[in-house]
Symmetry: C2
Subunit: 383 residues, 2 copies
């Protein structure tokens, strides 16, 4: 292992691509004739295929969940603090799989992929994808990897919603489900924030109704705005206060519309760099997947009925200052599970960082995560 990569890292990793020629019909009614799923794996699948863990990513995440793609990488994968040898999801014991979801922009088929009907990128013609569609395509990946049953399906935020949907839709295919910083469905306020983000993207004249690729441009301002707004909802008021307070960018107030406070500078920088990297049509799709997520809807709105299908044991985690999906929303999940006599562990973690906490190495959070995964290992791995 080279010097600059930490010893408890999974090290250098390479993504793999699964190309599927069998058409997939999506919840919206449209079908993709063929598609790619890009994924990464860490650790080794054991002979009984009992040690596989599926990680589901959130809104702007992707398959690169741990380790490094190249020695030059400044940052490891997005959940590197959780996945690796000796970490909460210990790659000495588990085989970890993480894929870029359909509709994504990091290798799996999505709006930036070529539409075989037109030989140009799908762009806005890529169909709406839902959490159900992702579970369906993730199950196809599992089939191809010869994984009949996951030891656990794990996710935070929109990833937690996928994990929950797995447990409801394919109850026999997972032994444990870890639902972190999620909710049974979006509130009107959650949808409202998504709608503002979408409106910002669509209002950008460089959006060109989604066909920005053929105009050789990007809706940078609109996507940047969407990201700025997202960022505010990921952080708590407290975390922003601690990090930036009312610190001025310069020594004194300038009475003008240039950056005055550090928080403005931070948001501008974050949004500009994001807008160069992420695809706006994918961003739109991800917000719609969030809006539409509502497993109760298949059970006449009865969420308890939905979770009654679950066979997996459940760990639900929330964070005290998360106001995007507050602890109360996790408690709705827990209460429904308890009402259906499911086995559920719940932890509300004291954390100042808001929704982003689920990505951060907070010790009580990681302690619980580690302890739970040790229990999973002891159950699923033959000694």
């Amino acid at each position: 292992m080279p010097d600059s990569i930490p010893a408890n890292s999974v090290g250098l990793v390479s993504p793999q691509t699964l190309h599927i020629e069998t058409p997939i019909t999506l919840e919206c009614g449209q079908a993709l004739p063929a598609y790619d799923l890009v994924f990464e794996t860490h650790g080794k699948l054991n002979q009984s295929t009992s040690n596989a863990i599926l990680i589901c990513h959130a809104l702007s995440g992707d398959h690169h969940v741990a380790g490094y793609h190249a020695m030059e990488d400044k940052k490891p994968g997005w959940w590197d603090n959780v996945i690796g040898p000796g970490k909460a999801i210990d790659t000495n014991h588990f085989f970890v799989v993480c894929l870029n979801n359909l509709g994504g922009c990091n290798g799996s088929t999505g709006p930036t992929s070529i539409n075989p009907d037109t030989n140009t990128p799908y762009g806005p013609d890529f169909p709406i994808v839902t959490v159900n569609d992702w579970v369906k395509s993730q199950a196809i990946l599992a089939d191809n990897l010869n994984i009949q049953q996951w030891a656990a399906v794990v996710g935070g935020s929109l990833g937690g919603m996928q994990a929950m949907q797995w447990a409801i839709s394919l109850p026999e295919r997972l032994k444990h489900v870890l639902i972190i910083a999620a909710a049974p469905k979006l509130s009107a306020q959650n949808i409202a924030f998504n709608e503002v983000a979408r409106t910002a993207i669509k209002a950008d004249p460089e959006f060109h109704e989604g066909y920005y690729a053929s105009h050789d441009t990007l809706p940078r301002k609109g996507l940047g705005l969407a990201r700025m707004l997202g960022h505010i909802t990921y952080l708590s008021d407290e975390a922003m206060g601690e990090k930036f307070g009312r610190e001025l960018r310069h020594d004194s107030i300038n009475y003008g519309f240039d950056v005055e406070f550090q928080i403005e500078s931070y948001l501008r920088y974050q949004s500009e760099s994001f807008a160069e990297q992420f695809d706006a049509n994918t961003y739109l799709l991800m917000t719609k997947a969030l809006d539409y997520f509502d497993p109760a809807s298949a059970f006449e709105g009865d969420f308890a009925q939905a979770v009654s299908k679950i066979q997996a044991k459940c760990l639900v985690i929330s964070f005290t200052t998360d106001w995007r999906f507050s602890p109360e929303r996790s408690q709705e999940i827990v209460n429904a599970l308890l009402s259906e006599n499911k086995e559920v562990t719940y932890a509300e973690i004291e954390a100042t960082q808001g929704h982003d906490a689920f990505l951060l190495p907070i010790s009580r959070y990681h302690d619980i995560f580690t302890a739970y995964m040790k229990k999973v290992a002891s159950e699923v791995i033959p000694s």
Copy 2:
């Protein structure tokens, strides 16, 4: 009084204009050589001029605080439920003054006014105005109305900040101050939301660096976005949930980017109508006035020192689900006042409506408001 105007309304009212030829130097260092202040009054000023109440408006408010401008008006002034005969601020006893602030877009000199230097609208060249500037110009209006001391200065949100600044800057000129749904200064999160709003306006290609008037256009999309976002912060998650929940606009889900949920439809409608009525440059100025408000800054950051100047008796009111300026922010004001041995009454009102609650006829809120103003009347009005 015509049939269609309620008996407890102040009835038909006409705005007045005070034209000032004496230049005013603003906190930013720039001066306006002359300016107009548009205002409305309700009730009668008594002979001892002891019964005058100043109402300060919030971000998108104006001087039209009560009654109707015309029989055809669908809605009365923005605080009609508080001001009128027999209401909390009883116009049988009090003389109520409300003006459009400098920088506004409803008659007082602001970005839509003609810049005497260029004979075209000021537009983005209108100088930055602050809460201190408003207090200064409001005091000039008071001088012109022959009001040496207000019985009370009253405001909610940004209006509450002006009321607080009055009590700090001109302590002898008010006997009471009512600070409703306000804060001692904005948090990083508050500033962040303002920055997103400003970015949305400035990103609109119809903004033309603020010179949209000379291009015969309006930055409707940008201002609409800013308003949509504002709207989310004015309502509580709870209030939005009660009002809209996840109600669909049509009978079933359409899997597309048209309006799917009622909340989206509501936000789109609200933002479109606002963007036709309000001036974008004014909106930018108002958000900056909010950002810059920080009375402690003149006292080396010591807020208690700032409020130590206050001679007025204080009523501070907050609302439980207000997350824009939460009860904790009002408690900071109360605690500072108590630490300086000021006379302060504090009420935290149970209300589901979020920040908007300060505009609504919530009975416990109005009961306290009414009782307090009766006390004010008994103190200031000769029997």
